[in-house]
């Protein structure tokens, strides 16, 4: 399963009950976090997310609305007596910010915190059932998007067929890999007769904060679902460019060019109480658009 739960969908200033950026991705049995704005740990509790299952946190960039909640979340992990290791991935200075605050409060963590400085595009995490890669986005400061991909799952054994051919279970792993079966008398049974293909691996891209940038298209091409920021409505394209952000229609254009199946939009400017307009505008360009609603989980 690949699913995305929204903790915060607003841009810099919290407003109208909307919180700064944070998302929880459920994949396989893991929870991973993309960005951690102020109050994310409170949203985690509001939405009854099992915080102890978060083992990897990725921070896109060091504007406060994307990381001010991290130190509080780490502190709470410590106070709760967490012991399993935790990895944090982000721009290098984040390490200094975290370490300074723990030093001053005389905090020693009961768990191993590993900080991975993001330095170049590529693979950040190679887990059993999925990978997380990063890619640069064009913002006012160093900024990274994240791409999570399920790994291809082994073929599924067709139990009825393997019984019919009397195949021993010790051979199942080779069948799952796609190998044919060779019986004692040399008869060959094609793998396709004994196994079924598993579901196609799913993928999700979190495009962080970014100016409208068609350079993103090849990076997120054919990804099943993407999140793309829409800080401003379409009428404020000039303002968006100036602030290195995007509009509703620009986000939709990227999803359309990249041939994604689905687009989530968020990072709404605090100037707008009604966020319906963002959705309406984006849908004109890319119909499979949805607003990233806080507390809602989107299955890829």
């Amino acid at each position: 399963m690949l699913a995305v739960t929204i903790l915060g969908n607003n841009s810099a200033i919290p407003a109208y009950g909307r919180h700064p950026t944070s998302q929880i991705v459920t994949i396989s049995d893991d929870l991973i976090m993309f960005d951690c704005g102020e109050g994310s740990q409170i949203q985690i509790m509001n939405f009854k997310i099992k915080r102890s299952r978060i083992n990897h946190i990725f921070i896109s960039h060091l504007h406060g609305d994307h990381y001010f909640g991290l130190i509080g979340l780490l502190s709470s992990f410590a106070l709760l007596g967490r012991i399993q290791p935790l990895s944090v991935y982000g721009p290098a200075p984040l390490k200094e910010i975290i370490e300074l605050q723990f030093k001053i409060s005389n905090t020693s963590l009961p768990f191993q915190l590993t900080f991975h400085s993001i330095e170049k595009a590529g693979l950040l995490l190679d887990a059993k059932n999925y990978t997380v890669e990063c890619f640069p986005t064009q913002h006012r400061i160093e900024c990274w998007g994240f791409l999570v991909r399920e790994k291809k799952q082994p073929r599924k054994i067709n139990m009825e067929k393997v019984s019919a051919y009397n195949i021993d279970a010790s051979l199942f792993p080779s069948l799952q890999k796609g190998e044919d079966f060779v019986s004692a008398n040399g008869e060959i049974v094609k793998n396709e007769l004994l196994t079924d293909a598993n579901t196609k691996p799913k993928s999700y891209a979190f495009c962080a904060d970014t100016i409208y940038d068609e350079g993103l298209v090849p990076v997120i091409k054919e990804v099943d679902m993407i999140y793309h920021e829409t800080t401003y409505p379409a009428s404020l394209a000039e303002k968006a460019t100036e602030r290195h952000h995007s509009t509703s229609k620009q986000a939709a254009s990227i999803a359309s060019l990249a041939n994604n199946k689905r687009l989530l939009i968020g990072h709404f400017s605090a100037k707008f109480e009604d966020i319906g307009q963002f959705e309406r505008e984006a849908k004109e360009v890319f119909p499979h658009t949805e607003i990233a609603l806080e507390g809602t989980t989107y299955l890829v």
Copy 2:
């Protein structure tokens, strides 16, 4: 007017809808803030507090639940284009933490932020109508309590009497100071006949995080209302001492010894969903105890 609005009443970990420590004191026309735990800026919005009127922020100590919300609040002030100056008072390393984060995000503030390192007990702020002093509390790290006192107001002119004696308005300021009136023919009219005493100045002490410490008593003696932490119920006195915190009954003992009129309790451990027990226990020792409820304003 002297009033205290509670933004957060919980200890280290947010729980059951309770937030980390922060209070807004309304005095004269000013708003001042005592501590700023994570999410305080969101609580400010929830409770419709005019954040632009906050000109002084006091941070008791550098455990995260007392200051992790400060950087977010300052960032929002910047994004909102605040121009009036702001003063922050707290332990010296707070300056480094704030400056590092603004440097990394390339933030330049549109308002003047003045950081006052707290170094010794005494006067921190001498405003037109009130003062704020600090006093040390005994906690695991350097920690300060804050005491706000209204200044004595000038005596009120009794308009009926001054008319009867035909006293010119140019003499009112001297009457307000308590001076007697001397007429042209040398007749002396006692001040008490011409003016009335103003209301007695009120005072409020925020006792921050602290172990049970009778050393506080002379410092907050006769203060009208105090806030004293009650991290633990009475049964966990040993744990409280070990963690340099206080229990419900200990807080009440301090208020009783200091002859305060009223006690607010808070900083409840996240282990306790029912905080009614804290109030019941404290009231056995000091009846004028109230739970510091989030979103509630307590008039001194």
